[in-house]
Amino acid sequence: MSRIGIFVCHCGENIARTVDVAAVAEALRDHPGVAWSEDYKYMCSDPGQSLVRKAIEEHELTGVVVAACSPHMHEKTFRRACAAAGLNPFMCEMANIREHCSWIHEDRDEATAKAIDIARTIVEKVKHNRPLESIRIPVTKRALVVGGGIAGIQAALDIADGGHEVVLVEKEASIGGHMSQLSETFPTLDCSQCILTPRMVEAYQHPNIKLHTWSEVESVDGYIGNFTVKVRKKARSVDEDLCNGCGDCQAACPAKKIPSEFEAGLGTRTAIYVPFPQAVPNIPVLDRQNCTLFKGRRKGLAKDACGKCKEACLRGAVDYDTEDTFVEEQVGAIVVATGYGLYSIGREQPEGLKGYGEYGYGEVPDVIDGLQFERLASASGPTAGAILRPSDGKEPKTVVFVHCVGSRDPEKGMSYCSKICCMYNAKHAMLYKHKVHDGRAVAFYMDVRAAGKGYDEFSRRAIEEDEAEYIRGRVSRIFREGDKVKVWGFDTLSGEQVVIDADMVVLATAMRPQAGAKELAQKLNVSYDEHGFINEAHPKLRPVETNTAGVFVAGACQAPRDIPDSVAMASATAAKVMSLFSADELEREPAVAVVNETTCIGCMSCEHVCPYGAVEVKEIRGRDGALQRTVASVNPGVCQGCGTCQAVCLSKSIELETFTDEQVYAEINALAAWD
């Protein structure tokens, strides 16, 4: 006989303002199977939880329903409270009368009637709950970090320093990410590579870090504590063990004019290359798309058209016949740190984006984006650090910086703010002025967002010390006129149009997730939002976890973010990973499927549909050992509790604990119209 306690929360005014919580408690008091009913201001608070514990003891409750917020908020809280009072935690459920009721309705009568329905439905469900025990599964204490930018490097170092092995997978030839392209970082104007490269080397040399560069995640199977990851090591054409980084191959390569990705298109590289001199590992890759030899092979030439790099290599490390290889890694946790890309200023746009034709679609060579400016300013960049404009190499005397290109623009770009552009625009203005003392730096801004430590002071410096001119307004058109770049803008504070004859324009383009981030998210089975940013488990309280257990997220792949926040987030994920690894076994919710071996006919439809391969064939033998029949059997360690097996089973011979047929039936029945 059920003795269920129901606790209706006011949640301050959040619920009580719209729902008559006392009436809900009253309506449930006489419901069959309810032994205790009360309402209270804040059920999740200590005194609130004490009420639950007290009622369990005093009224010998067999089940608990807390009518309050969403189970996603506090199911764990109340289950812990029940366990503390000696009631099996799986006899406790929540009725969502806040997110699904008080917060979305205005009419008090309607909302109260609905809250009563919701509460009653969950009470009926709980009557069929069963006292379950958590499942324990082993944990592989190795981590996978996807992405070798500053966030990935930080996470890898922290986990490795914590004593666990880390597999770090980076799709480019070198780790370092976009931070390696930067000239200086705000707000300190530290040389970016100077602070980054020691970390890169540390990661490379760390005994606990296994580095796969020029590699991508091919597939991920399994679940928290037990992931099997297949890594595709793309064909480098260079043997990583033989190469000693001497660079002779690059010197010998005849294809010298390939646009360099690292230089953001402003410089060139050879076909066999390291992206930048401080690359880690300092082992080149051969770009088979642009390599003369491979072009010839694709055309079907009988004899190879080149081979200079192989000739030049004294260690015999160049091998044109390598193929992509695959490595399987067993890990217990995954950190996603794939970083960002910039909104393209070119004519070719990804699906759904229109681009900025009024800014010339990137066809004016002196209209560049932020990363390109970083390369100009960088001492190791294509202009050795001199600010020279791309079209004619002359020093620009007037540079216009345009904020918010593609950001805060729901119509043509992204609706969100890219967070870092106000800061790096100030930085760019300062860097420019430091190098071109008589130059004029003009910035068109909407707001100046400089909220970090030392950030506002930094951006004020650009204006007050380096005389950058900040005009509040948007730019309507940018086009070439003669050898000038004309900028038409508006100054909202004076109310006047502004026309600037610039020599160079830098567009602060929106920060977006990397191309291919969505596909990776699907492989990892993590959810992402409409922009492609990875979804965190909870925006306030669980910012580095995803809703996929065991997969964590750090850095700009989750939202636009600067370096200190990315580093902090990466260390946070490392803490989560190490907490996961701190026990040999992981406790899992017992939401697993169980087969009724009496009625199962062994058709194995469940096995065919199970996404995790959790179902096996089991033989039922008589006492004489003769095979009577075969049935399905579920491995509780592997089953993730989706219930697809149950819906496909024609005879209903498989039940998912925590969402059994009895429980669902009870909920549907509870909503019956009794009239």
């Binding site: 009436a23 309506a27 969403s70 189970p71 996603h72 969502n96 806040r98 997110e99 699904h100 009721c101 917060w103 979305i104 309705h105 205005e106 009419d107 009568d109 309607e110 909302a111 109260t112 009637a113 609905k114 009563i116 329905d117 919701i118 439905t121 699907q522 089975n525 959810s527 992402y528 939002d529 409409e530 979804n535 809703n547 996929t548 939401a591 549909v609 996404p611 995790y612 993730q640 509790g641 989706c642 219930g643 697809t644 149950q646 819906a647 496909v648 998912l656 925590t658 969402f659 669902v664 039936y665 909920e667 549907i668 029945n669 909503l671 019956a672 119209a673 009794w674 009239d675």
Partner: protein, 197 residues
Amino acid sequence: MSGTSETRAGATAGGDFEPRITAFACNWCTYTGADLAGTSRLHMASNVRIIRLPCTGRIDPLFVIKAFERGADGVIVSGCHPADCHYTAGNYHARRRFAVFHDLMGFVGVDPGRITFSWVSASEGAKWRNVVDEAVSKVRELGPFTAYRGLIDHNVSADHFEGLLTAVRADPAGSEAGQTEAAQVGAAVVTDDGDPS
């Protein structure tokens, strides 16, 4: 067990019909999306009651049938977008199962407006609000589904359909013209006295 009868969805004091809608929502996407709609304070019609399932893969057409039997005027089945299922493939199986169920329901005469299928992700609070409001509005238009739960007392003899169902093809060779002369279904096997031959 009638609760507060004047305020229950089903019959308001004014006598206007308020649909009762049972929604089967997957925990990871739609349920969370509905939570987000709440957090964002997006107001919507109050006629929907959500039953939480782990995945659309768990949702059986029998749930929908039972909901109609127990008084629902409309049903919503909602889960994660394809490729985004928390359990990787549950919604793909649900998609096929519900395509067939949807077609069968239409074939036996249940108005498709009574069953809404949707993909609502965890970040689509606004979409959930739209799905709810549209479903409620549509079902309100269609009226109470008393025809379904009232089937328990239904008493229609086959005689009534004798005229509707007669074997006919004017041209034994089976031409189009002969077939459309009267859009009627052959009862060559089915006769009123139940003789299987």
